[in-house]
Symmetry: D2
Subunit: 323 residues, 4 copies
C-alpha cells in the first residue's frame, strides 16, 4: 500500500517524539523527515525504528503532503508560513493559530477538536491542534453548553492536573526529578493560564457565551496524563446525568463515557478522552461533577494531530491510533 509522506518540525520534544512514534507505526503514513535544530544529526530510537534529526531549515518540506509543527509557541507561526509557501498543508500543535491567540488574527485555521469540528477539517490548509487542557475540558463540557443547561452566568470551576511532559522537554530546574517527585502544586493560580483565552473562545462558540471558567492547573509527579475535575452549576438535575453525554457523542470512537470516575491509567498511551458525570450531593445549587481524563501527549497533542491529519487526508479517522 502506498503511504503518504508527512514530516515533523520540532521532533525532539515530547509531542514531537510521540508524533514520530505514531507515524512510523501508521499503516497509511510514512515519515519524510523529522527536524530538531539542537539535535541535528543525532540518531534516536523511536519504538523499533531509528531516525536521524535534520535541522529545521534543512527539512525538505516539499517532500511531505502534511507537515506537523510541534515547535514552541511563537516560533511555529513562521514555519507554518514557510510550509504554506511551498503548498504543504499543516497541522500546527502550537497555540499560534488557536482561538484566543493574538497571533491568529490574520490567518483563519479551523480548531482541530476533531469530534466537534470535524466538518471544517477536510478542506483546510492549516489545522490549529487544540491545547491539552482545552481538549480535556471542552470535550467534557460541550454537551452541557450545546444544550444550554449551564446555570446562566455561572462559573464552571476546573481544577486540573497534568503530568510533567505537559511542560515540554526543557531543562528547567523545577522539572528535575528530585524537585518533582513527592511534590504537587498549583501554578498559574488566579485564573491566569494562557489556555483560558482558548477555552473561553471555544466555550462561547459552543453555546456558553455567558459562562465563566475558573481554571487552576496543577503539576503532578507523573510523566503523562491530564485529569480535570470540573464542577458545573446547572439549571436542574435529570434522572440519568450521563445520558446527555452518551447521546451527544453516540459512537465516537475516541470518547468514552464511564460509569466510574476515570483515572490517568485508563487513558495513558491511548487517543481517547474518558469522562464521568456525577451529581453533587449535599449542596443547594444543582451541580454536576465531571471528571475528564486524557493522555496529554496523545488525545492532548500527537494523537489528536494524527486524527486531524487522517481526516484532512481522507484516511480512516482511527487509522494508526491506539484506542
Amino acid at each position: 500500500m502506498h503511504k503518504i509522506p508527512v514530516g515533523v518540525l520540532g521532533a525532539s520534544g515530547y509531542a514531537g517524539r510521540e508524533l514520530c512514534g505514531l507515524i512510523t507505526q501508521h499503516p497509511g503514513l510514512s515519515l519524510a523527515f523529522a527536524s530538531a535544530n539542537e539535535q541535528r544529526g543525532q540518531r534516536v530510537r523511536v519504538g523499533a525504528t531509528e531516525l536521524t534529526y535534520v535541522a529545521t531549515e534543512d527539512a525538505p518540506l516539499d517532500k511531505a503532503e502534511v507537515v506537523f509543527t510541534a515547535l514552541p509557541h511563537g516560533t511555529s507561526a513562521r514555519w507554518v508560513g514557510t510550509a504554506r509557501n511551498v503548498g504543504v498543508r499543516v497541522v500546527d500543535l502550537s497555540a499560534d493559530f488557536r482561538p484566543g491567540a493574538s497571533e491568529s488574527s490574520m490567518i483563519k485555521a479551523p480548531y482541530g477538536l476533531t469530534e466537534l469540528m470535524r466538518s471544517r477539517i477536510p478542506g483546510a490548509d492549516i489545522i490549529a491542534n487544540p491545547g491539552c487542557y482545552p481538549t480535556a475540558i471542552l470535550l467534557a463540557i460541550a454537551p452541557l453548553l450545546s444544550e444550554q443547561l449551564v446555570l446562566p452566568g455561572a462559573t464552571i470551576n476546573v481544577s486540573a492536573a497534568s503530568g510533567v511532559t505537559g511542560a515540554g522537554y526543557s531543562a528547567r530546574p523545577d522539572l528535575l526529578f528530585a524537585e518533582v517527585v513527592e511534590d504537587f502544586k498549583a501554578y498559574a493560580v488566579g485564573n491566569q493560564h494562557r489556555h483560558i483565552a482558548e477555552m473561553r473562545a471555544v466555550t462561547a462558540e459552543l453555546g456558553g457565551a455567558d459562562v465563566d471558567i475558573l481554571f487552576t492547573p496543577h503539576l503532578l509527579p507523573v510523566a503523562r496524563g491530564i485529569l480535570a475535575t470540573i464542577t458545573v452549576p446547572i439549571k436542574q438535575h435529570s434522572d440519568d446525568p450521563a445520558a446527555l453525554w452518551r447521546r451527544f457523542y453516540g459512537n465516537e470512537p475516541f470518547v468514552e463515557i464511564a460509569d466510574q470516575p476515570p483515572s490517568l491509567r485508563d487513558v495513558v498511551r491511548r487517543n481517547v478522552v474518558r469522562v464521568s458525570i456525577s451529581k453533587a450531593a449535599n449542596v443547594k445549587q444543582p451541580t454536576l461533577i465531571i471528571i475528564s481524563a486524557i493522555d496529554n501527549l496523545m488525545k492532548g497533542a500527537a494523537g489528536q494531530a494524527v486524527q486531524n491529519a487522517n481526516v484532512l487526508l481522507g484516511l480512516e479517522e482511527q487509522s494508526g491510533l491506539p484506542a
Copy 2:
C-alpha cells in the same frame, strides 16, 4: 528533666508510627507503650530508637498520663472509653468523637483544631483530633467564615489531593505501588466523602451556617501531603486579599501565609499549614482561590495530636514539633 509518660494505641499504622517518632524525640514526653495487635511482640525502629509493640489489650494504660488512640474509626471509641475508665486523658485521632460523627452524640469532646479551639483544650478529658482534609480546609477558610465574607448561600468548591498514607497502612490492591505510580484519580466523587459532615459542622460553628461545601478528593502518587485548592465566591474583593489571614492568625507558629502558592514540598515533615490567597481574574463573580498545604501525617494527624497534648499537659505548644 522529668518526662511525662504517654502511650499510643494503634502504633503500627502511618499516623501511629509518626506519633511514636515524635514522642521519642519530644523533650517533655516519654513513650510508655505502643500497641499494635497484629504486630504484637514485633521490634521496630523509630528514628534512632527501637521499640516493641504490645497487644492493645495488654497496654498498661494507667502508666500514661495521656493516651493517643490511632485506631480505626469505630474501634477507637471503645478504647477511649477503657482509657477514661482508668482516668487517663485521651487524644483520639479517629473520627469517632468529631463533629458530625454519629458516634459522638453522647460524649462531648472538644474538636482539636488547635489554632481555632485552643481555649477548650486544657480542661478536656478527650480531644477529637481533626481529620487531615478538614484541617487543611478549615484553617484555610476560617478567616472568611469568621468575618462573614463568603457570598451568602454560595458553594465553596474544594478540589483536594492526598498522598497514599492518607488511606492508612492497609494492604489494599489499589494502593500497591504498581497501581498508584503514574496514576491520579478522584474518589468519593459526588460530595460523598465522610469528612464532609465534619467540615460542614465546623464550618457552621465558625460562622458559615449558610455555606455549602463541595469537596472532591483525589489520590496522589506521593507518600504524604495534602494540597487543597479552594475557590470561594465572596461578597467583594479587598486590595490585599491575604491581609485578613495575616491579621486573623497573627503570630501562630504553625500557620504560614505565603506569597506564592504552597507545594507539598513546603510542608512535608513539618507541623504547619501553609496557605496562599489569590484573586480570580476573568470571572464576573468576585472569587478567591485559596491553596492550602499540610503534611497529612503531621499537622493532619500526629503533629496536631502532639500539639493538642502539649496544650492539654501545659507544655509549650511548639514542644517537640518540627516547624
Copy 3:
C-alpha cells in the same frame, strides 16, 4: 482471517493481564476465555476491549488450542495436567516445569527461552516459559558460555533489579506505594533466590557446567522492567567484545546488542532483550560487564509466552508482539 482460540488461566495478575492485552491485539489469536477465581464475573478493560473473568474451574479448556497458565507456582502444575487431559497444549508461565524445579521431575517440558531453544518448541505439549530474571541473564551470557570463554571455575556476579510487578499482584504491605516509593533494597541476599536453580541448570546445559552464579536481586521503585548488571571473569579480552554477541544472535528480531548500556526505558512495553558489553578497566583479571534489560512482563513473561505460542502454532514468530 481465521484466528486461533487461546485461553488464559490466572488472568488477573500482572502477567495474566498483559497476556490478555497481547492476545486481544494479536492478528492470529483470539481470546477464548480468561479465568480469575477471586474476580470471577468481574468485567475489566484490556486496552480498548472489555472481558469478563470466569472461574478457573469453569474455563472451557477444550475451546482453546493453546492455554497459557499464569497461576501461582505450585498451583499451575495441576491445571497444566487438567488441560493436557483434554488434549490442549500449554504454555506455562509458572516455575513448575522449569529446569531445577522439584516438580519438574516427571514431565519433560522444553524450556521456552525461544532464541536458544527454538527447535524444541514446535512438537511440544507443554512449554516451560522462563522466569523473568533468568531470561534477562541467560540470554546475556549464553554467547560466552557457548564459546567456553568464561574463566574456568569462576563466579559470574549478577546484581539485578526488578520493578514491583515482578512480585505479582498481591496485596502485601511491603508492596504498598508508600513503602516502595523513594526506597530501594536487595532481597534474597546470600544467593538464595529460587531462580538460581533454574539459572544454574540452564547455564550448565549451555556450556557452563563449571561456572558459579552469584545473584542478588533488588526491588526497584518502578512498575516494570528488569536491569541485570553482570560481571564475568573471562579467559582473555578480544578487541571488539560485542562482536561475539552480534555473531551469536545474528538477525534475532527480539535481541538488541547496544553500543550504550541499555536502560529500562529502552525495553519497557517491548518484547526484547537489550544487551551491552563493556571491558572492565583498572582490574587485573580480564572481566566483561554485561548490562541486560528486559520488560519483566513482556520478554520476561507474557511476551515470550506469546512468542513461544507463535512457534508452537506455526505462526510468524513476531506476530502480535511489540518490537
Copy 4:
C-alpha cells in the same frame, strides 16, 4: 550558649542546601553566610528559617571559623585557597583534595571518613570530605581490609545505585522527572567512574593494596539515598560473619550493623551508614555479600561534613546530626 559562626560556599546545590538546614538547627553552630552565585540576592526557606544567598565573591569569609565548600569539582580548590589565605579552616565537599585526585598533589588534606580517620582531623586546616559512593563502600569493607581477610589479588565487585541528587542540582535533560521516573540504568560502565581512584587509594591505605575494585554505579528513580551491593571473595568463612564488623565499629554512633539487608528507607535523612553481611550460598569460592546504605546528602555529604566540623571544632561529634 555561644554559637560558632560557619559559612557555606555553594549553598544552592543539594548538598549546600542540606548543609544550611543542618547548620540552622545545630545547637553549636550559626550560619554566617550562604553563597550561591546564580541565585545571589534570592531568599529561600531552609526548614522554618529563611536566608538570602550572597555572591560567592561577596561572602565574608573572615566572619566564619569554618567554611564548608560545596562548589563544583575543580572550582572548589581555588576558593579553599582564598579561605585559607584569610586563615579560615575548611571542610571541602568537592573531590579536589581527596586521595587520587590530580589536584590534591600539592596540599595535603586529611580524608574525612570520620570513623576511620578521626585522629587526623582536629589539627587540620582542610578536611577533604569523602565522596558519597566511597563513604558507603569504604566503611563497609574497611573491617575486611584491616584484617587482611580478602582473598589476595581478588576483585571486590560493587554494584551501587544512587538517587538523582547524587548528580547535583543541574538542569540536565536526562535528570528531568519525565526521563527518570520508571527508569533505571547503569552509568560509567567499564569501571570508569571518577570515584574509583579515590576508593583505590583509600583501600590501599586501609590494607588492601593488592585488591581490585570493580564498581558499576546506577541511577535510581529516587531523590536521595545510596545502596551498594558488595561481593567480596574472602580467604575463609567464619561462623558469624557480622562479628568482625561489630567488633571493628564498637559503639560508633553513626554505624549500624543490621541483621537484615538495609534499605534506603532505613537511612534517608539520617547521618548513618547501615551495613549487613551475608555468606553467599551455592558458590565454590567463599564470598561475602555486604549491603551498605547511606543517605548520599547526609552521611555521604552534608552530614559527614558537619560531623567533621564537629571534630575539628572540639564539639561533641554527634551534635546537630540526626542519628
